[in-house]
C-alpha cells in the first residue's frame, strides 16, 4: 500500500454507503460470516464507477436504478428482497409511506434491519428500530444515529422514498457468488446501466472517459469531483483486496482452480495500479474541500492519472472476463 492513504481503516470501513449498509444488515442474517471485503467483492460494488460527464457532479454515485441493482447484489449473496420506492425524485403519497412503514416494521419484527435512502442525508443507511408510541424509526447513516419521525421517511433532504428489506435466504456457493459478481462487474464495465433519457452519467470504462472529458472542459464541480475520487478509490482498494484474497485463499487443486488463482492475482495487480492513480487524485483534491480541479495544471495532472487508471482498469476487466470464462466452463 506504500504511502497511499487508507480511508478504509484496513478494510473495516467504507465511504460507499450502500455497501456499508448492506454489510451491516448481513450481520443479522445467515451470512454474517462474510467480511466487508467479501461483501464489496461478491456484490461487484468494488468494481463500479459512475461519473457525470459534464461536471462530475455529486449525483454520480447514486445515478443508477437502486432497487434493480441492490436486488441483484443481494440475490448474488443468496438473499431474496422486497422494496418500496426508488430514485423517483418525488415524495411518497400517504399510501406509499404506509406500505413502506409496513415493510420496515415487518422486517424489524423478524429481526433484520432495512436498507433505506436519505434518512439524515442523501446517502444509504439502515433502519434498525421503531416505536409506535413516539412514531419514530431508529436509524443510522454515515452522518448520524438517531430517531426519524414516520412522516419524514421519504421526506428528507431530497424527497424520495426508498427502502429495501431482506425476506429470505437460499444458500449460494462461493463459486456461484464469484461467477455472479464477475458477470455484474463485466457488464458494468462495458454497458451503460442508467438508461434514462439524455443521461449525462457514464459507468464502467466510459466513466473514466466522462471524468477526463469533464476535466478537459475545466468546469468540474469541486465537491463532486473530490467525493468521487474518494469513493472510487475506496472501491478499487476493496477490489484489489478482494482479488488478492481470491488469489491467496481460493480452494481447489484442479488446473482450473490454479488458473483462477493466477488470473485473480493478475487482475488484483491491475486494480492496484488503478488505486495508485486514484490515491493521487484524493491527495490532489482532498474531500470535502476539493482543491482546485479547474486549475489548468491540476486538471492536466488529474487527466494523466485518470488516463493511466483507465488503461489499467481495462486490463483488469479483461482479466475478470478470463476468470468468468473459466467459471462458465
Amino acid at each position: 500500500m506504500g504511502s497511499r492513504p487508507d480511508y478504509t481503516h484496513r478494510f473495516t470501513h467504507t465511504n460507499v454507503t450502500d455497501i456499508g449498509s448492506m454489510y451491516s444488515i448481513l450481520q443479522y442474517t445467515e451470512r454474517k460470516d462474510l467480511s466487508l471485503v467479501e461483501v464489496a467483492g461478491y456484490t461487484a460494488n468494488a468494481f463500479r464507477i459512475i461519473i457525470d460527464r459534464e461536471r462530475v457532479n455529486v449525483a454520480g454515485y447514486s445515478a443508477y436504478e437502486w432497487p434493480l441493482h441492490h436486488k441483484e447484489q443481494f440475490a448474488n449473496l443468496g438473499f431474496r428482497t422486497r422494496y418500496e420506492g426508488g430514485p423517483t425524485e418525488i415524495p411518497p403519497t400517504p399510501e406509499e409511506l404506509e406500505r413502506a412503514l409496513e415493510m420496515v416494521q415487518e422486517s424489524l419484527d423478524r429481526g433484520v434491519p432495512v436498507l433505506a435512502w436519505d434518512l439524515f442525508v442523501p446517502e444509504f443507511g439502515v433502519i434498525y428500530g421503531y416505536d409506535d408510541a413516539s412514531r419514530t424509526l431508529r436509524c443510522r447513516d454515515i452522518t448520524k444515529d438517531g430517531e426519524l419521525p414516520y412522516e419524514k421517511l421519504g421526506r428528507g433532504q431530497v424527497h424520495e422514498l426508498y427502502a429495501m428489506a431482506i425476506t429470505g435466504h437460499d444458500p449460494v456457493s462461493k463459486r456461484d457468488m464469484l461467477k455472479g459478481a464477475l458477470e455484474l462487474a463485466v457488464r458494468h464495465a462495458h454497458s451503460q446501466g442508467y438508461k434514462r433519457e439524455n443521461s449525462q452519467f457514464r459507468n464502467g470504462l466510459a466513466g473514466y472517459d466522462a471524468w477526463i472529458e469533464a476535466m478537459s472542459c475545466r468546469n468540474v464541480d469541486v465537491y463532486g469531483n473530490a467525493l468521487h475520487a474518494l469513493y472510487v478509490y475506496d472501491q478499487r482498494l476493496f477490489a484489489t483486496e478482494f482479488l488478492k484474497r481470491i488469489a491467496d485463499e481460493w480452494d481447489g487443486d484442479s488446473a482450473g482452480d490454479e488458473q483462477l488463482r493466477s488470473l485473480a492475482s493478475q487482475a488484483g495487480g491491475r486494480y492496484d495500479a488503478v488505486a495508485d492513480e486514484l490515491a493521487e487524485l484524493t491527495l490532489r483534491f482532498p474531500f470535502p474541500t476539493g482543491g482546485n480541479p479547474n486549475d489548468p495544471e491540476q486538471a492536466e495532472a488529474a487527466i494523466a492519472n485518470l488516463t493511466t487508471a483507465r488503461a489499467a482498469e481495462e486490463q483488469g476487466v479483461a482479466k475478470l472476463e478470463e476468470m468468468l470464462k473459466l467459471l462458465q466452463k
Binding site: P94, V126, T143, D145
Partner: protein, 280 residues
C-alpha cells in the same frame, strides 16, 4: 337502482347535448398524453379529468369487479373511487401517473366496501346525496364538465362538501344496522374536517376558489386585493399544508390500526456494525 347510480356520476363527456366548441375541446383533449392530462387535471381542469376517467373507466371497472367479485358492488366502488379522485386530484404529486393512482383508490374503496360487509351491507352509496335544493338529483344533475351548470355543482366548496357528507353520514348512521360502518363513516367525516382545519381562513378561501370553483389566480388576486404572486404562494402553501396533514392523519390511522390488531408496539435491534458515530 344500481343502474341509476351508474349514471349519476360517470364523468363521461356528453357530446350529444353540448355545443360544437365543447366538442372540439374534447377532441383536442382526446389526443393529449396521460401525463399532460394529469397535469391539467391537477390544476383543476375538469375536461382533462373527464378524459382521464373516460380512458381508465373500463379498466378500473374490471379491476373493481375482480376485487369485489360482484358487478353491482364494483359499480359502487368505482363511483366512490371517482369521487375521491375528483376531490383529491389536486394533491396528486407532480409527474405521478393518473392510472396507477386511480387503481390504488379503487383498491382501497373495494377493500373498504368489503370490510363493511360486502354486497349485503345495508348502505346507501355516496352518490345518493342531494343538490342544495334538496331534490334528489341523480337524473337531473348536470355532467360535471358543463361549465354553465357550475353554480349548481354540489362540489364547489369545502363547506358544502362537508355539509353533504356529514348529513349523508348522519342519515346512514341512522339507517345502518352495522355499527362498524357507522363508526368508519363518522371517522371519515372527522378526518376531512381535521384535514381542512389546518388551513387559515384566507388559505381556505383561496384553496376553494382555485380547486373547486376554478377561479384563475389572477381573478382571485383581484377579488382579494392582493398580488398574483401572493395567490400562487397561498395556493402552494395550502396545498403542502394539506399534504402534510394528510400524511399525519394517514400515519395516525396506520398506528391506530396496528395497535388495534395487536401488533408489536416497538422494536429495537442492536445498533449496526458500521457507521458508529465515532467513525463518521
Amino acid at each position: 337502482m344500481r343502474q341509476r347510480e351508474k349514471a349519476a356520476w360517470n364523468f363521461e363527456p356528453r357530446a350529444d347535448v353540448q355545443g360544437d366548441s365543447i366538442r372540439e375541446e374534447e377532441n383536442e383533449y382526446g389526443s393529449l398524453t396521460e401525463e399532460c392530462l394529469t397535469e391539467k387535471a391537477r390544476e383543476g381542469d375538469r375536461l382533462a379529468f373527464g378524459e382521464l376517467v373516460r380512458r381508465n373507466r373500463a379498466k378500473m371497472y374490471s379491476w373493481a369487479r375482480s376485487l369485489t367479485r360482484d358487478p353491482h358492488l364494483a359499480e359502487d366502488v368505482l363511483q366512490e373511487a371517482l369521487i375521491q379522485a375528483f376531490l383529491h386530484v389536486g394533491r396528486l404529486v407532480e409527474h405521478s401517473r393518473f392510472g396507477p393512482w386511480l387503481a390504488r383508490i379503487v383498491r382501497n374503496q373495494a377493500l373498504m366496501k368489503l370490510r363493511r360487509g360486502g354486497p349485503y351491507a345495508k348502505e346507501r352509496p355516496f352518490s345518493g346525496l342531494s343538490t342544495p335544493g334538496g331534490v334528489s338529483s341523480r337524473q337531473e344533475r348536470p355532467a360535471p364538465n358543463n361549465s354553465n351548470e357550475r353554480a349548481s355543482d354540489p362540489y364547489r366548496d369545502i363547506d358544502r362538501i362537508l355539509f353533504h357528507l356529514s348529513r349523508h353520514s348522519e342519515d346512514s348512521i341512522r339507517r345502518t344496522q352495522d355499527p362498524v360502518a357507522a363508526l368508519l363513516r363518522k371517522e371519515l367525516m372527522e378526518g376531512i374536517r381535521r384535514l381542512f382545519a389546518c388551513l387559515s381562513t384566507r388559505e381556505k378561501d383561496i384553496f376553494e376558489a382555485h380547486f373547486f370553483r376554478h377561479v384563475t389566480p389572477q381573478d382571485i388576486a383581484l377579488a382579494l386585493d392582493t398580488s398574483v404572486a401572493n395567490v400562487y404562494n397561498s395556493i402552494s402553501r395550502a396545498r403542502s399544508k394539506l399534504q402534510r396533514e394528510r400524511i399525519r392523519l394517514q400515519v395516525s390511522l396506520y398506528v391506530k390500526n396496528r395497535r388495534d390488531s395487536g401488533k408489536p408496539k416497538a422494536k429495537l435491534l442492536v445498533p449496526p456494525i458500521l457507521y458508529a458515530p465515532k467513525e463518521c
